[in-house]
Amino acid sequence: MGKGLIRLKLVFEKRDPVPVSYRVASPVLAVLLALVLGAIFLAASGFSPLGVYLEMYRGAFGDWYGVSETLVTAIPLALCGMGIALAGRMLLWNVGAEGQFHMGAWAAAWVALSMPDAPAWKVLPLMVLAGVAAGAAWALLAAVPRAYVGVSEIITTLMLNYVAINWIEYLVHGPWRDPASLNFPLSAPFSDAARLPMFGYTRIHWGLVFAIIAAIVIDLTLGRTKWGYEVKIIGESPRAARYAGMSIERNIIITMAVTGALAGLAGMAEVSAIAGRMTRQLSPGYGYSAIIVAWLAKLNPYGVLLVSALFGGLLVGGYSAQFLGVSAASVNMLQGLMLFCVLATEALGRYRLRIVPAAGSDGDSDADRQGARADG
């Protein structure tokens, strides 16, 4: 029976709690690892890694224009990510921010197009309201079945994205098509009053203020209110929450409505400030990237602000790398590599690899000795 054999095996052990030193070191390690792997890839493709990295950095953070553009990209990421993070606190996976973003943009555009002569003080608040309401309503379409029948919100929110995007496609190709634009798939442009103001010469718009306010409000609400307390308990242990008399259904509805509202607000800001009319391509996938943002930020609202700025920088800087001749596909790979490293070290940080004797073999010799005694 395998006498004298020492069997070893590798096991993953959960670290509990994860040491602080590792939590600090892991993102740094992750970025370093990504940079090194990326450098190997770039060097193999005949580029100077340092040059590419510097160009990416220059594009994203190198001057005020880069920083401002990074922030412009960060705004929709932050607003969507904030909502996703909030839902994540309750273990709800909102992968529908993209759709909620589009519905928010749609509703805001509808207000803007229906009142072309209204002054800004009238039309802009209405656009915000409409965007928020439409985003929330879109999220509720998934939240209600999730709360009362247990339909997975991951599937429903995802499917609703396609519905929303196709709805926009339909509108700009059909009823909303602007005859003045030669039947191209564009709505009529908004009036100047319906354009969310930008700051100075940059394209940074009021969406940034919305995002910061949202972060503060969410942080205060989660930390200081009874509702935030319920969200915390539900996220930690739904059974305990139910036991304590909390209504999980109600909280799913509220949380999903808020998460959708934030994505809808992002859509409103983007269509009003950046696009200025409804077009068929408003988002290069902000709602999806925001999922990564939310989880990298560990679901913390201020963390979402910070990570979206970094993520925005990664996206903005990626385009700049092309000026050195790096192809878009290579840039995408590089960006993917960085995210992968961050996520992987994050996940691995919760475990450690150890070599241990295989189960039972330590007790083996004991038993054999006893067996020998018994035989003797």
Binding site: I233, S237, A244, G245, G371, A374
Partner: protein, 520 residues
């Protein structure tokens, strides 16, 4: 060396776990071709013994003989190679696979090419031989619980198992399925297979087994041919220990009923009828104990009373008002405190600090914060008060409660439930897993509650605890109260019998009643 006619012989095995002796010189001798029942209360050491027999754990000392040969097993695979397999209470099947796929799953052969036809043929053969009716091409999720159990049995037979251990196989079955299972078991035994049947249910033991061994406190205390013993003897061997009579105490002053349950019916997690028309009453200043072997609906009872589980029929009346199927919050506000069985899974949120856990029932009150706000200063003060009054030992109030000892986390839970404005307590296994000191602390709290006029429903498996604390003990069996005794009339033998499903004063309950009567 062992006798070859014994399929399994366990000699004097001991197994210690930190703080517990799970097996303490236990013996078991199972003859080839017999159905051997293994009886014992929870914690008597049945699972430890069976885990040793199936290679999951290794004894600290003692020996195991299979077919007369001393063996040393290090994994279930080793056990199966020796012809020993177990059908667990919770099936280990892949729901989306077919029956035949599940049966071959994990087998070393065939390695690469999987030809299902011969496997399906073999499965049909087993089915026919032992009456294990099941379609080898059906997906497991399409099968009933009984059919899934058959798949587990065939899985073992397919692996060449000749000694089959069935761990409480009837717990999940309908009466008809039980009949079919017993029929299969008899046919297998007749064909020379050996079966070890683990059960709490004395009537079933009497009707199916050839021989029976009773375990208590990690030791075998009794072995006999089933025909030569009877339910009464087995029950007394099982409960066995000499229990001191309840300590003298003045008869309590019981007020009006605070909790009345009437004809309650509810489903268990697996859709079986867990409560079958249960009725009971708890009065002010009374501790009403519920004894019974775990799995007879105790958890479901507590959950249905507290609004966590839907009642299909019947009524739950709290302080004279009907609260059937109201939300948990309404029931909390009606004055019901709940000490759940699953301390860290339900009663507390393990990853959160003491403060968050301490305010879980009272966070809506102004004491914690005005209006919609939670005042962290008040929450901390609240927690500090609970911790000091109930002597909870914790490094800081920010420590996650999962890092507290069992006793301290239970004290925190108890402190919270006792502080919340209430006059009913539903306590489920409140001292399970606690050391002597913590157990005493819990008992003191419950008695103090009783003195202050709270009505307590105490569900416990620990008879000593019930006898010491309760003003009245009811025994729960298969979703019903089978009988009740006042404190003055407590008779340990009667309780033991009732726990096994037999009310000596009335008719026997459950299945196989006729045989049992004959046996008695």
């Amino acid at each position: 060396m062992g006798t070859a006619e014994n399929a399994v012989e366990i000699r004097n095995v001991t197994k210690r776990f930190p703080g517990v002796v799970a097996s303490n010189g236990a013996n078991l001798c199972v003859r080839r071709g017999e159905i051997h029942a293994l009886l014992g209360e929870n914690g008597a050491g049945k699972s430890t013994l069976m885990n040793m027999l199936t290679g999951l754990i290794r004894p600290d000392s003692g020996e195991i003989l299979i077919n007369g040969e001393r063996v040393s097993m290090r994994s279930p695979a080793d056990a199966i190679a020796l012809g020993i397999g177990m059908v667990h209470q919770h099936f280990r099947l892949v729901q989306t696979f077919t029956v035949a796929e599940n049966i071959t799953l994990g087998m070393p052969t065939p390695r690469f090419r999987l030809d299902m036809a011969p496997i399906e043929r073999e499965v049909s053969e087993f089915s026919a031989r032992y009456g294990l009716e099941v379609n080898p091409r059906a997906k497991v999720w399409q099968l009933s619980v009984g059919e899934q159990q058959r798949v587990e049995i065939i899985k073992m037979l397919y692996r060449g198992v000749r000694v089959l251990i069935l761990d409480e196989p009837t717990a999940v079955l309908t009466p008809n399925e039980v009949k079919e299972l017993f029929d299969t078991m008899r046919r297998m035994a007749a064909a020379g297979e050996t079966l070890i049947f683990i059960s709490h249910k004395l009537d079933e033991v009497m009707s199916i087994s050839d021989r029976v061994t009773v375990l208590r406190a990690g030791k075998d205390v009794f072995t006999a041919d089933t025909a030569s013993t009877n339910v009464r003897e087995l029950a007394s061997k099982m409960v066995g220990r000499e229990l001191a009579p309840p300590p003298e105490r003045p008869r309590g002053v019981f007020g009006r009923p605070v909790l009345e349950v009437d004809g309650l019916k509810a489903l268990g997690d697996r859709g079986e009828m867990a409560l079958k028309g249960l009725s009971l009453t708890v009065r002010e200043g009374e501790i009403h104990g519920i004894a019974g072997v775990a799995g007879n609906g105790q958890r479901e009872l507590a959950e249905t009373i507290t609004g966590l589980r839907r009642a299909l029929e019947g009524k739950v009346v709290i302080n004279g008002k009907d609260y059937t199927n109201r939300r948990p919050r309404a029931i909390i506000e009606a004055g019901v405190s709940h000490i759940p069985e699953d301390r860290l899974g339900m009663g507390l949120a393990g990853n959160l600090p003491l403060t968050d856990n301490a305010i879980m029932k009272d966070y809506r009150e102004d004491e914690i914060g005005p209006g919609m706000v939670i005042d962290s200063g008040r929450a901390t003060a609240w927690t500090r008060d609970l911790v000091s009054r109930f002597q909870v030992k914790a490094p800081t109030l920010r420590t996650p409660v999962r890092l507290l000892s069992g006793g301290n986390s239970q004290k925190l839970l108890l402190a919270r439930e006792a502080t919340h404005d209430h006059n009913v307590v539903v306590a489920v296994h409140p001292t399970r897993g606690l050391d002597v000191g913590a157990t005493e602390a819990v008992h003191d709290v419950l008695l103090a509650q009783r003195s202050s006029g709270v009505g307590i429903l105490l569900i416990s498996e620990d008879l000593e605890e019930l006898i010491v604390l309760c003003d009245r003990i009811s025994v729960m069996f298969e979703g019903k109260i089978i009988g009740s005794l006042e404190r003055e009339d407590v008779d340990i033998d009667r309780i033991g019998l009732m726990m096994a499903g037999i009310d000596p004063q009335g008719a026997a309950h459950g299945k196989g009643a006729d045989q049992v009567e004959a046996g008695v």
